[in-house]
Amino acid sequence: MNNIIASTALKARQLTDEEIHEIEHEKTHYPYAQAVGLEALKIVQKYQGWVSDESLLAVSEYLDIPPDDLEGVATFFNMIFRRPVGKNVILLCDSVACWMLGCDDLKAHITSVLGIEYGETTEDNLFTLIPVPCLGDCDRAPSMMVGRELYRNLTNEKIDQIIADYKAKA
């Protein structure tokens, strides 16, 4: 539903001043506007949580990149979300070092505590769970990120604490 190629039947939304300001800053780093496509999608995602069709069209118009090209970029990258996600995205590493040290058990624990599988969002919209390839933290495996924060040497108890902390912040 949400991951169809952006349809021209939809209207681009208005980019916010903050978004435009940051996109303009990125533009100074590259000789061509197309190069800013991914950065612009990341900026939009930072403010909106995800990249809706309306957002994708807005960036496409703003940078004058054909929507299909920009969609090609958006869908190529694991960390561009073309569907809504919860307030906090849990990125659980499921690559080899973390797997050897029990990430499948951690996944089962998160699923039992939050009631979500990979790709799902909790009903209160606080958490989305996504598997992520090796976080480059294998010497502290198992590892995960919540948003921009890294958590390492994980155990079920640590995960309970982390979830409680994010719930308290909400």
Binding site: H29, Y30, P31, Y32, Q34, A35, V36, G37, L38, E39, L41, K42, I65, D69, G72, V73, F76, F77, N78, M79, I80, L91, D94, S95, V96, A97, W99, M100, L101, G102, D104, D105, V132, P133, C134, L135, G136, D137, C138, D139, R140, A141, M145, R148, E149, L150
Partner: protein
């Protein structure tokens, strides 16, 4: 010179990275002052003579790679630092960027002078948020102190450095895919030739180097070729970061002389295996290298020596497989990663990897057949060097083919009974 750990001398666990002033006080930013007194080609020559091999996986002589770039023509040319670090089991560039960002910036400035680059980009994986913050701070400080921007230190040389953060895709680490990604395109690899040194970013000469490679440049241009050569063991030059993950007592990564053996790394640095676990095999340099066995531990970590044993040194961060972890499951996990990260351009990779994953999943559940083992062997051939557009699929085939060589009994037992290992 007595410095023997040029890559990590400023790194202290738990302390914030050096500021510009602290870094400078510790002897930093001298290499540019030395380099600027030399012709750019002579700086390249010095790096070549030092015998520095690329630390991104292939190990090609860095100065030689630089020397393939054509003479400057007054138009833009680029240095791109490959900081994508997504090879499973690899965590060395993270340490360098988080803990001593000025070393990378200094290396980029001096390297850019050598190749006469006008702009430098750091292509950083998006998940490295601490590295992102520390690098942005270091870049800003370098501008404030006249080490970046127009006419650096009163010279004719000008350079801008920008940080690009990616959004998670392993193929972006392949240097031509990385260039496409920087241009804002889907990150499919490009046909070579032309090589990026001649025609790369926006069709201009571009050098792509690994983070650790560039972090070696300040030392070479500060203390000289003889010093650098003296750092290695025997005929080897320099130091490199090697590390261990898996069930060892003290996982981590450390700087050590080039030529150190796997055994020294595993036993002295990483403290050996955890109690109750034995070493069964190891991947010497990331998920895309062939397994080696305990009898290979006394090999020095040198590309040529590791190749003779049938594997690759790769990133020189080793992953140990212990006796209580399923080798077939380990390969299954790796293949799942490569299947997910395939860019989809060519058939053996796009279709072959999911097929291999499917077979390994069946074996896990005891639903495999003996003929599946033959199919796996065949797939290693289809995905091998020369049959695909880039090195991702051949890399993915390496742990598979070597596990078929060393652990055939495990595959057969999976076919007969499914996986008998406890948990995963």
């Amino acid at each position: 010179m007595s410095i023997n750990n040029p890559l990590t001398k400023n790194i202290e666990k738990g302390r914030a990275p050096f500021t510009f002033a602290e870094y400078k006080a510790a002897g930093g930013y001298q290499s540019f002052a030395n380099a600027i007194k030399m012709a750019p080609r002579d700086v390249m020559g010095q790096v070549k003579d030092a015998g520095l091999g690329g630390r991104g996986g292939a190990g090609f002589n860095t100065g030689l790679k630089w020397s393939f770039s054509p003479d400057p023509d007054g138009l833009p040319r680029y240095l791109v630092v490959n900081a994508d670090e997504m090879e499973p089991g690899t965590f060395k560039d993270r340490l360098l960027m988080e803990s001593d960002p000025h070393l990378l910036i200094e290396g980029m400035i001096t390297a850019s002078y050598a190749i006469q680059a006008t702009t430098g980009y750091i292509f950083l994986r998006g998940e490295y948020t601490v590295a992102e913050e520390n690098l942005l701070k270091a870049i800003a400080e370098a501008y404030d102190n006249g080490m970046l921007g127009k006419n650096i230190q009163g010279s004719d040389f000008s350079l801008d450095i920008y940080l690009h953060t990616s959004a998670g895709r392993y193929i972006c680490g392949e240097e031509t895919a990385l260039i496409n990604a920087l241009e804002g395109k889907r990150a499919n690899p490009r046909f070579k030739p032309p090589f990026p040194q001649v025609s790369g970013l926006w069709g201009r000469p571009t050098l792509v180097n690994n983070v650790e490679t560039i972090c070696n440049i300040p030392g070479i241009l500060t203390y000289g070729v003889d010093w650098f050569k003296g750092l290695g063991l025997g005929d080897e030059c320099g130091t490199r970061i090697s590390g261990v993950s898996g069930r060892v007592k003290n996982p981590g990564c450390w700087e050590m002389p080039v030529g150190t053996t796997f055994r020294t790394l595993l036993e002295d640095y990483a403290g050996g295996m955890q109690d109750g676990y034995e070493l069964k095999a190891f991947l010497p340099g990331g998920g895309s290298t062939d397994f080696l066995m305990p009898e290979h531990l006394d090999l020095p970590m040198i590309p040529g020596e590791v190749a003779k044993a049938g594997s690759r040194l790769g990133t020189s961060l080793i992953m140990v497989l212990d006796d209580k972890t399923c080798p077939v499951g380990t390969v299954r996990n790796l293949i799942k990663f490569f299947a997910h990260e395939s860019c989809g351009w060519c058939t053996p990779c796009r279709d072959g990897l999911p097929w291999v994953e499917h077979i390994l999943n069946k074996m896990e559940e005891g639903k495999g057949e003996m003929k599946d083992i033959e199919i796996l062997k065949e797939m290693c051939g289809y995905m091998g060097p020369g049959n695909t557009f880039c090195a991702l699929a051949p890399g993915a085939a390496e742990p598979l083919q070597s596990s078929l060589k060393y652990f055939m009994d495990e595959y057969e037992s999976h076919v007969k009974h499914g996986c008998s290992y406890k948990s995963h």
